[in-house]
């Protein structure tokens, strides 16, 4: 694949760019969201799991007799039995055969909370009663909690067959790192630690499986799982033919990555349905979601070196990181591939060294959390740039601006080989500084300091890569290499006899994002309709076209491409019908305000509805080659991705549509208590052309709230025995309305030259930036103590400790 053609974007838009109320909202406001736990199927069983109380232990024996005898219990399945009924779960990890991942533990448990026995009963309450009667004898093993200890010779092994706790290690060199470090005036070094947090949507993961022994069909309703094109892998796990697995998407009560590909829950429900011959619902409770939900976020320790010149030029960066993946590694080190898409931030840094060691420990495994590892990369580069500003005595905004890729330098290839399609970073920073009243806050900060108050101002300027091609999951390996993947998204547009439009989507698209609103606005733009009249439906996978769903801020861009293609097909057919009805040449027709008309003769025109009824009912009065109906499907493939080179000194283009944002946080820190209070918060984002600015702003505020959680509150804490100390919302503290400030939001639009309408993704939004800005602000507030924010979350307790350490 080569560089795609530059698209022409028209400035005049009727519906794109309008903050219309969302199409999704009425059903949610009325309490009729239709979430997975709201669905009741006749004759349905419900599930409870018996989960491990140990972090690491051999399973000696399991006695299920008393549980099975409980009135209303229909099936009790142990891990060993589950291993007969199902194959291992789909695993994109480095060596799945030697770190096998199954829906229930077999032989030994590898983290506290891992499922050991599954019970299906007439109700969840009965299943829970029975779970208490299962007797499991364990032989406790030494738990591995510290990833650095897990690296030591002679450490116990999480997976004996792997022979090591290092699931993966590789180093990359992009550009002439040695020469850049040699030429540098100074090298700034630091150690950083990003703690473990997770998406934790208010709704957990659930599935209802219904296996039909007559037809062999496995139908599963689930609020998780996108990647429709990859569902054959789940069919393999469930031991059903890939064409007999039918996934029905159900709206998700939030995901933030955690429902991207949660395969264990539908597997357990499917296994139990097959075993019992009845529909089975399995919905995780909160503790299961936290401890056994397979979706903790990044947990990384870093050693970083930044090569800089005394004039402020950033030359090169060396990043060594050890990542604690937990007991399994379902997505491999794709999180680091993701970070490599924008590893140099918005800056002209000419070379990069990157070394990653992925360690297995006795913890719940990682999955996806809003940013997928790139948010950590943003934090690292911004922490280092802040240090450079301090060492050089420079204003942090000025130093950033000096190193920005200029607006005239796009498309810009960073050292890893990924391209940034477009941008205007200086413009975003200018808007942010003005909106935040940066100069005014510096004055107020000075005055407050004189009064003994500790106000800090933190700035970040960060990237938000969008629309992945999934190369990041495999370029780590020299063999086997795969071609670049297209990660398609599809839509069918059906214009009925009266000209009303139904759009069918082919992935589990509703996670709290606004797929229906996006689709309706894009369709309305094409056909000049009121978007509120567009009907949006979701196909099940078995009737589906290729689809990938939301994730990596891709959905709006990709579905826009699908709509663009399908609309073109429909308009082409409609033009031919109109030409016939108007007895005109099709070349003389133009689409004008909801219909086709003869150019220069506006009275000679046919509205879409007139064309539609002709197409649906009166085909015989049309030319032979025109078939009845007015619908079209379009599969849109990733528009810009290229192969890595063989020696992996260039990873190719894999995440090209580059959003950008600047956040400015103003905080006051109480050095006695460590409490961080927000005085002001500004967020300016550039995600290319906006479809619905209000919805994008919602993602910016919501993402920032999650970034505040990651920065100050949230951490999955395991004690030295591997016991999870934060198993519920009482201990795992997510921000409330009192913890999140009211944001000042600004938008800039630098359209992508390569996407329909110039849209870039923006869904991961504030969480990509907030931790960098907040860390910077806390550090600035505590400048007189010399405190460095090297670890997140910067909880009040830690802040007080850091101050004590300096004194």
């Amino acid at each position: 694949m080569t560089v795609p053609a530059v698209r022409e974007h028209t400035a005049e838009k009727n519906w794109i760019g309008k903050s219309i109320p969302r199409l999704e909202d009425r059903k949610f406001l009325l309490g009729r969201g239709g979430y997975i736990d709201d669905i009741v199927v006749p004759n349905m069983l419900e599930v409870a799991l018996v989960r491990s109380i140990y972090a690491h232990a051999r399973i000696v024996s399991i006695d299920t007799a008393d549980a099975a005898a409980v009135d209303g219990v229909v099936a009790v399945i142990t891990g060993a039995q589950a291993a007969e009924l199902t194959d291992p779960l789909p695993d994109f990890g480095p060596d799945p055969a030697n770190h096998p991942w199954r829906c229930l533990a077999v032989d030994k448990v590898r983290y506290a909370g891992e499922g050991v026995v599954a019970i299906a009963a007439e109700s969840r309450a009965i299943a829970e009663d029975a779970a208490e009667l299962v007797v499991i004898e364990y032989e406790p093993l030494e738990p591995l909690v510290d990833p650095l200890a897990a690296l030591e010779q002679g450490a116990p092994l999480v997976h004996e067959t792997l022979g090591t706790n290092v699931a993966f290690h590789r180093e990359f060199t992009f550009g002439d790192v040695d020469a850049d470090f040699e030429a540098a005036d100074r090298v700034i070094t630091d150690t950083l630690h990003w703690g473990r947090s997770g998406g934790q949507p208010i709704e957990t993961v659930g599935a209802i499986a219904d296996y039909d022994h007559a037809t062999g069909m496995m139908s599963i309703h689930a609020n998780s799982l996108s990647f429709t094109s990859y569902l054959f892998m789940l069919a393999g796990t469930l031991k059903v033919p890939s064409n007999k697995l039918d996934m029905h998407p159900v709206p998700a009560g939030g995901s933030f990555g955690s429902k991207l590909w949660e395969v264990k829950t539908p597997t357990i429900a499917g296994m139990l349905s097959k075993a019992t011959g009845r529909p089975v619902k399995y919905v995780q409770d909160r503790m299961e979601n936290i401890s056994n939900g397979d979706h903790h976020g990044s947990d990384r320790r870093y050693d970083v070196q930044l090569a800089v010149m005394n004039d402020g030029t950033l030359r090169s960066i060396k990043i060594k990181t050890v990542e604690d993946y937990g007991a399994y590694i379902q997505f491999g080190v794709g999180h680091h591939g993701n970070a490599l898409a924008q590893v140099t931030g918005p800056y002209k840094i000419s070379s990069v060294f990157y070394d990653v060691t992925a360690v297995l420990t006795n913890k719940c495994q990682q999955g996806a959390y809003r940013g997928f590892g790139s948010e950590v990369g943003n934090w690292v580069i911004e922490r280092m740039v802040d240090r450079a500003a301090d060492e050089l005595g420079r204003d942090p905004a000025d130093l950033r601006r000096q190193n920005f890729i200029g607006p005239e330098e796009f498309p810009y290839f960073i050292p890893t080989g990924n391209v940034y399609d477009s941008g205007n970073y200086g413009g975003v920073l200018d808007t942010a500084l003005e909106l935040a009243d940066y100069a005014g806050w510096r004055e107020r900060q000075e005055a407050a300091r004189a009064e003994g108050r500790h106000i800090g101002i933190g700035i970040c300027t960060c990237q938000e890569r969008s629309v992945f091609s999934a190369t990041e999951f495999w370029f780590w390996f020299d063999e086997p290499a795969a071609p670049v993947s297209s990660m398609p998204e599809s839509v069918t547009l059906d214009i009925d006899a009266l000209g009303n439009v139904t759009a069918t989507l082919y992935s589990c698209a509703m996670w709290g994002n606004s797929p229906e609103t996006m689709v309706a606005q894009l369709v309305a733009e094409e056909f000049d309709l009121d978007p509120q009249t567009v009907n949006v439906v979701y196909a099940s996978s078995n009737q589906g076209l290729p689809a990938t769903g939301p994730g990596g801020s891709r959905f709006t861009v990709m579905v826009a491409g699908a709509i663009d293609g399908a609309s073109g097909k429909i308009k082409s057919k409609a033009a031919n019908i109109a030409a016939h009805l108007l007895e005109a040449n099709v070349e003389d027709l133009a689409w004008v305000n909801g219909g086709f008309e003869v150019v220069g003769t506006p009275t000679a025109r046919k509205e879409l509805a007139e064309i539609a009824i002709q197409a649906h009912l009166f085909k015989h009065s049309l030319p032979d080659e025109i078939e009845s109906g007015l619908e079209a499907s379009h599969v849109y493939d990733h528009p810009y991705t290229t192969m890595p080179n063989d020696d992996r000194t260039d990873l190719g283009v894999f995440y090209p549509f580059m959003g950008h944002a600047s956040h400015i946080a103003v905080v006051e820190v109480d050095p006695e208590t460590g409490k961080v209070e927000f005085l002001d918060y500004t967020a300016v984002h550039d995600c290319g052309t906006m479809v619905n600015p209000r919805s994008l702003s919602g993602h910016i505020v919501g993402g920032t709230a999650q970034g505040i959680g990651t920065s100050i509150f949230e951490e999955f804490v395991y004690d030295s025995d591997g016991a999870l100390q934060t198993p519920s919302f009482a201990e795992y503290v997510i921000p409330t309305s009192m913890d999140v400030p009211s944001l000042k939001i600004g938008h800039q639009e630098t359209p992508s030259p390569y996407t329909p309408h110039g849209i870039k993704g923006g869904g991961e939004a504030g969480r990509m930036m907030a931790p960098a800005a907040i860390s910077s602000a806390i550090e600035d507030a505590l400048r007189e103590y010399g405190v460095r924010v090297r670890r997140l979350p910067a909880t009040p307790e830690r802040i007080v400790d850091w101050i004590d350490d300096q004194e």
Binding site: I202, A705, S742
Partner: protein
């Protein structure tokens, strides 16, 4: 585990409801499973998140922490009682206009808590709304547009 059934009689969204329930049945499960009022959602089942917030005798409660038998004789209001014939309640309309929701899962609890806040304080300010909503977790919105919606709804309802 006692499975002895208890008779309860309560009013749910202005309808008198009689039922036989197990003593351990939570009010949330009673609403969801016995009455099919699935608009009341369960996020944590330990009283932390507030997704299951409903009004009992006019006061907000976590319906996951209250037993159905404790609601005997009470007047219960849930999200399903807000709109009439598909016409949104002013609070629902304000949430829609302000985009005070994304995934919608915390929304019923937020709406019921907002109703209580506005009934108690018809001239509620942004600061008061923010403080009042601290009882309920939302993971999507960052609360800003919910706060705006509550203030707007209060003004509409005065």
């Amino acid at each position: 585990m006692s499975t002895e059934q208890h008779h309860i009689s309560l009013t749910v969204n202005d309808r008198v409801t009689d039922a036989e329930v197990e003593p351990r049945l939570s009010l949330a499960d009673f609403l969801r499973r016995h009455l099919s009022l699935v608009g009341t959602h369960l996020g944590c089942e330990q009283g932390a998140c507030g997704a299951c917030t409903i009004l009992v005798d006019g006061e907000s409660v976590r319906s996951c922490l209250m037993l159905a038998v404790q609601a005997d004789g009470s007047e219960v209001e849930t999200v399903e009682g807000l709109a009439s014939n598909g016409e949104l309640h002013p609070i629902q309309e304000a949430f829609r206009q302000k985009q005070g929701l994304q995934c919608g899962f915390c929304t019923p609890g937020m709406l019921m808590r907002s109703l209580e806040l506005i009934r108690d304080n018809p001239t509620i300010t942004h600061e008061e709304a923010r403080e009042g909503l601290a009882s309920n977790l939302c993971r999507c919105t960052g609360y800003q547009y919910i706060v705006e919606a509550v203030v707007d709804a209060a003004s509409e309802m005065r």
